[in-house]
């Protein structure tokens, strides 16, 4: 288990320059995520187009490098996906983070960089918080906690 497996370059980059780090003005779907262990808080906003695809996705909040990078990469990965497709990716990312399945680089793309958290059990929640929050936003709102 090496630190470099956790803090890969792509994660450092997304932490330093988070993509889609902004608010989407209403009307949109949104949810708030909270990790009481470290105090991380984030807000996920998303808007669907008439065809039920994710047209825009953004987040705001504060957190560690893993949680910010995960949220940033998530906004890129989910944009343009149909809701069912987004939910399916959520399941696969979740399985990857907890080590239930190997990351398929072809399918996961950049998200495969998050697989390193499986060796850092205390950090899995950092990476998964935004995904749970996006899931709640898709279900139209509410708040989630990692506890």
């Amino acid at each position: 288990m090496q630190l470099a497996d956790l803090y890969r370059d792509v994660i450092i980059d997304h932490n330093r320059n988070p993509r889609n780090f902004r608010r989407i003005p209403p009307p949109c779907r949104q949810a708030e995520g909270f990790n009481p262990l470290c105090g991380d808080k984030l807000h996920v906003y998303l808007r669907l187009d008439d065809g039920g695809r994710i047209e825009d996705l953004a987040f705001e909040g504060s957190g560690c490098a893993i949680s910010v990078a995960s949220a940033s990469m998530m906004t890129e990965a989910l944009r343009g996906r149909a809701v069912a497709d987004a939910r399916a990716l959520f399941e696969r990312v979740h399985d990857m983070l907890i080590g239930r399945s190997e990351a398929d680089p072809a399918e996961m793309g950049k998200l495969a960089a998050l697989a390193g958290v499986r060796d850092f059990p205390s950090r899995v929640k950092c990476a998964s918080l935004c995904w749970h929050t996006a899931h709640a936003a898709l279900a139209d709102g509410g708040s989630v906690t990692t506890e």
Partner: protein, 419 residues
């Protein structure tokens, strides 16, 4: 720690043999991620000397039976050891009587006991419970609950940017409505030593009952509950090198006598019928059910261990560690120490520019260094400084200056990861 206090501590005492003390703590001698463990998370939970581990193991191997129950030999041994531990604690905090030492699960349960058993029957609308902005959640939430139950209001003594209590503001807040002052002896998040004696005097003059959260006090200084002038003092075993799941509440006998029990069950009664139950005497009135006997015995062994040290030298060594760590960490670019009170125990809470505390925790762990990162169960303190979390290095007398230096080096590396 003021300069004067530090100089005095250095001048007055023989050198503290930290290596000899480290030999008493088996857990310290291991590698973590290929580096020697530097355990700097003592404010969350300290480690146990062999003497504590052996006392508990020996009790389970030879003496275990229920206490206060049987006439057989093992029950007598268990009872003697359990009550013996109470006497050790009484001496350790200079309580007047073992009747004033209630075994609990820890500081949190001790404070809840006072809130529910003393405060709840006493409080009503118009009454005030005064806490401070520096409190651990364990000294906030039980009071919020009892305020909700009784209609009393919760008031807060403000803090200053240095992380000290605003004593002048406290003087204005304490008045005839104040029924309880609940204050920490030492802030767990920042290390500030609060002027408990002065606060207690002010509050008791106003007729309030004074409850001290001593979880972080007992491990770092000699505590004399009578000299402090408080009414209740709550503390935990695991912060003072004893087991988890055991702690104590000291309370003034006349207050404890007047309080109703807060949990009913076995051991807290003298006689039971369906018409009437007569409660047991102090301290057992507050100890319903079979207690954590091995925990109490382990805590007694922790007191024995502390008494076997030259405690004044140990505390002077901690003061040196604080001065050294403060200097070493201040030299790290981008590091800001949160909490700069004049009187502190060996706790350094800090932020590092560009690196979230949670990432700091993981990175220094890979250098074998254990620190706490997060809100330290003191979210109002974090909010005051406008940070979601801090990293916190908290020292015990078995830590070394070299460990503080290793932390400083690891923090420089943490910044490089994110540079």
């Amino acid at each position: 720690m003021s300069e004067a206090r530090l100089m005095k501590a250095r001048a007055a005492r023989p050198a503290f043999d930290v290596e000899a003390v480290r030999a008493d703590f088996p857990v310290l001698h291991q590698q973590v991620h290929g580096h020697p463990l530097a355990y700097l998370d003592n404010a969350a939970s300290a480690q146990r000397p062999t003497r504590v581990i052996e006392a508990m193991a020996s009790y389970y191997r030879r003496d275990h039976a229920n206490v206060h129950r049987g006439v057989h030999t093992l029950s007598q041994r268990a009872t003697d050891a359990y009550e013996g531990a109470r006497e050790k604690l009484r001496r350790f905090v200079n309580a007047g009587s073992t009747k004033e030492i209630i075994f609990t699960r820890g500081t949190t349960e001790s404070i809840n006991l006072v809130a529910q058993s003393w405060a709840r029957p006493q409080l009503g609308p118009g009454d005030e419970v005064l806490v401070s902005h520096l409190e651990h959640h364990a000294n906030i939430v039980p009071w919020q609950i009892v305020c909700g139950q009784t209609g009393a209001s919760l008031k807060v003594i403000p803090m200053t940017h240095a992380g000290e209590l605003d004593l002048a503001a406290a003087g204005e807040l304490i008045g005839s409505r104040t029924k309880v002052l609940a204050v920490g002896h030492v802030s767990n998040a920042l290390g500030t030593i609060n002027p408990v004696r002065e606060l207690a005097a002010m509050a008791r003059r106003a007729g309030a009952v004074v409850v001290v959260d001593g979880a972080q006090g007992v491990p770092h200084m000699r505590v004399d509950v009578q000299a402090l002038g408080c009414d209740f003092y709550a503390f935990s075993g695991h912060k003072m090198f004893g087991p988890t799941g055991i702690g104590a509440l000291w309370g003034r006998r006349e207050l404890l006598e007047a309080m109703p029990p807060w949990q009913g069950g076995g051991d807290m009664i003298l006689s039971v019928s369906f018409e009437k139950t007569t409660y047991n005497e102090l301290p057992w009135k507050f100890e319903a059910g079979t207690p954590i006997i091995a925990g109490a015995i382990g805590l007694g062994a922790a007191v024995d261990y502390l008494e076997s040290l030259d405690l004044e030298s140990a505390h002077a060594w901690e003061a040196e560690l604080l001065a050294h760590a403060t200097e070493a960490l201040s030299a790290v670019a981008g590091l800001q120490i949160i909490g700069t009170a004049r009187d502190k125990v060996a706790v350094v809470s800090f932020t590092l520019a560009g690196v979230h505390p949670h990432d700091i925790g993981t990175i220094v762990d890979h250098a074998g260094i254990a620190i706490r990162t997060g809100h330290h169960c003191a979210m109002p303190v974090m909010e005051y400084y406008g940070v979601p979390a801090t990293a916190r290095a908290s020292f015990a007398f078995y830590n070394t200056k070299a460990e503080a230096d290793r932390l400083a080096v690891a923090l420089v590396q943490a910044r490089e990861v994110f540079a």
